[in-house]
């Protein structure tokens, strides 16, 4: 691993991010990444965060048109409430703060505590839970669906809504609508290695793959022998479409888990588009890349988000972050 010591990977990364992005205000000690011009007067602020190891999520999405601040926890460990409280204080202009929380026990508990504390300090806080992962089928007997690829959609679209000047309730409603209309499914072709463990988190022989993985290097629901890119696309898209029955066009995110070469990811996208065509689903926009990752895991996920005119406008709206950038 390209690291110094496992204990310092997050701090080291934040120092490197600060050096590469003078437009961001990076508080290395307190682990908060804030857009440089925050607070923006009158604008609702978006704060997200979660364990590190999913980069560019969330820090790479801080900037005009997307997040106001991000709170990186230790690798695969949700941040502590102090970080979110500090971030909220730094970005709140008085218009309120939306916490974008991926649905993991740790994230939920820590953001909940942070929301209470921030409200004690007079910040108006709303929360939206992202839980798009259809691989978690039985939400009664589990911690519920995980937040994965849809997080990018929620952060982009709600971020654009906030940038347009919408009030907190509307930004929150848009975030919720995006989440409600988004579903994901992921596969792993290899496990990943956390700095703390130093070796793969589980054993996945070449020639086998895990279906229905999350983004924390955990095994999926099921192991199979290797499938082609086309077969994986069939499986993933069908599984998503069993749950999401889009009547409108969709946004497509073909996301790499970190170590999937773009060459393969684009090839996989060709298959995903084929399946969508076969199923009669119209595609409005497609984004391909390693955006919501699991360290050096090989694999991919597909996220579909059924959109409407407003959401399409918000998607096309300008965004200027380290990892997602267009229109300005």
């Amino acid at each position: 691993m390209l690291i110094n010591v496992a204990e310092n990977v997050v701090a080291d990364a934040l120092r490197g991010m600060a050096a590469a992005h003078p437009e961001l205000a990076v508080d290395v000690e307190n682990r908060v990444i804030v857009r440089g011009d925050a607070p923006v007067a009158g604008k609702v602020a978006l704060v997200s965060g979660g364990g590190s190891g999913h980069e560019p999520l969330h820090g790479g999405f801080v900037g005009p048109g997307m997040l106001s601040a991000a709170c990186p926890g230790e690798v695969f460990t949700s941040p502590v409430p102090d970080q979110m409280v500090r971030a909220a204080a730094a970005v709140d202009s008085g218009a309120g703060v939306l916490f974008v929380v991926k649905n993991y026990t740790g994230d939920v508990l820590n953001f909940d505590m942070a929301a209470e504390l921030a409200e004690d300090e007079g910040v108006q806080v709303a929360k939206v839970l992202v839980n798009d992962d259809v691989a978690v089928t039985d939400s009664l007997y589990t911690a519920g669906r995980r937040g994965t690829g849809a997080t990018l959609f929620v952060e982009k679209l709600a971020g654009a809504a906030a940038e347009e000047g919408m009030p907190l309730e509307r930004v929150e409603a848009i975030a919720r609508r995006v989440n409600d209309h988004s579903r994901s499914f992921g596969v792993a072709l290899s496990a990943c290695s956390t700095p703390a463990k130093g070796s793969p988190t589980f054993d996945l022989p070449a020639g086998e793959l895990e279906l229905g993985i999350g983004i924390h290097g955990e095994p999926g629901r099921e192991r199979r022998s290797m499938m082609t890119s086309g077969e994986i696309a069939d499986f993933a898209v069908h599984t998503v479409l069993e749950d999401l029955k889009p009547r409108n066009p969709v946004l497509v995110l073909v996301n790499g888990m970190g170590a999937t070469p773009l060459l393969e990811l684009y090839g996989f996208n060709a298959e995903v588009q084929r399946v969508l065509r076969e199923r009669g689903v119209a595609v409005a926009r497609t984004l391909v890349g390693n955006y919501v990752t699991s360290l050096d895991m090989a694999g991919a996920s597909v996220t579909l988000c059924q959109i409407d005119e407003e959401l399409l406008r918000l998607w096309d709206a300008p965004v200027r972050t380290a990892a997602l950038r267009w229109g300005m």
């Binding site: 926890g73 230790e74 460990t77 502590v80 993991y104 740790g106 589990t142 703390a196 988190t201």
Partner: protein, 218 residues
């Protein structure tokens, strides 16, 4: 009676145990989790000990409340708020007494465990830390040693369970056959507690009845 110093020594012993077992806890968190439980707790308990060395509150309740707040501020993940709530809930229940009896502590710990269940929404049998915390707390009125043993058995008993809370639940039936890391670390806390009490008891015996920090045999 148990004084503030006893609880500081317990937390120091817990930190040492967590430090010693961190790799195993992370290892247990690999097949059914995300391979961070050991480093999470090590970070948190190290910070707790550092804080208590700097400013040791003088009541048992304040020691546990401060330690719980420190865990919340330094651990993150699921276990940070949960263990933080355990200590805070216990500490709050102890109130401001400068010394507490073992029975008072057992009642308070029960309150702390209930707070964990309320926060996380889990029940015994869900393959979580509660599977060690609840039997441990149940046995504490008997003795520290009984609590240690009960928590230990509770942790072992998570192996055949299918997880219904936390990350392991995502695995469905594949979570069966693995010991829950959180239940394992909870058993470590009870072990550290019993060790601390026994050491205090021995110190007491050695000193033939000196008064300070006594803990055992009441």
């Amino acid at each position: 009676m148990l004084d503030a110093d006893f609880f500081c020594r317990w937390l120091a012993a817990a930190a040492a145990a967590v430090d010693r077992e961190a790799d195993r806890l992370t290892e247990l968190d690999s097949p059914i989790g995300d391979a961070d439980h050991g480093s999470n707790l090590r970070r948190g308990f190290t910070a707790v000990v550092a804080l208590l060395e700097k400013e040791a509150p003088d009541t048992p309740g304040a020691v546990l409340t401060l330690a719980g707040r420190q865990l919340i501020s330094t651990v993150g993940g699921a276990s940070g708020p949960l263990y933080g709530t355990l200590l805070r809930g216990t500490g709050k229940a102890l109130g401001q007494a400068p010394q507490v009896s073992e029975a008072e502590f057992a009642d308070a710990l029960r309150a702390g465990v209930d707070a964990v269940a309320a926060l996380g929404g889990a029940a015994p049998g869900d393959k979580t830390m509660l599977d060690a915390l609840v039997p441990g707390a149940d046995a504490l009125p008997t003795s520290f040693a009984a609590a240690r043993e009960a928590a230990h058995q509770g942790a072992l008993a998570t192996v055949p369970l299918q997880a219904r809370k936390g990350r392991a639940s995502y695995l469905g039936e594949r979570s069966i056959g693995h010991q829950d890391p959180g239940a394992t670390s909870s058993a470590l806390l009870f072990e550290a507690l019993a060790d601390t009490a026994e050491a205090a008891g021995e110190a007491l015996d050695d000193a033939s009845g000196e008064a300070s920090g006594a803990a055992s045999g009441e």
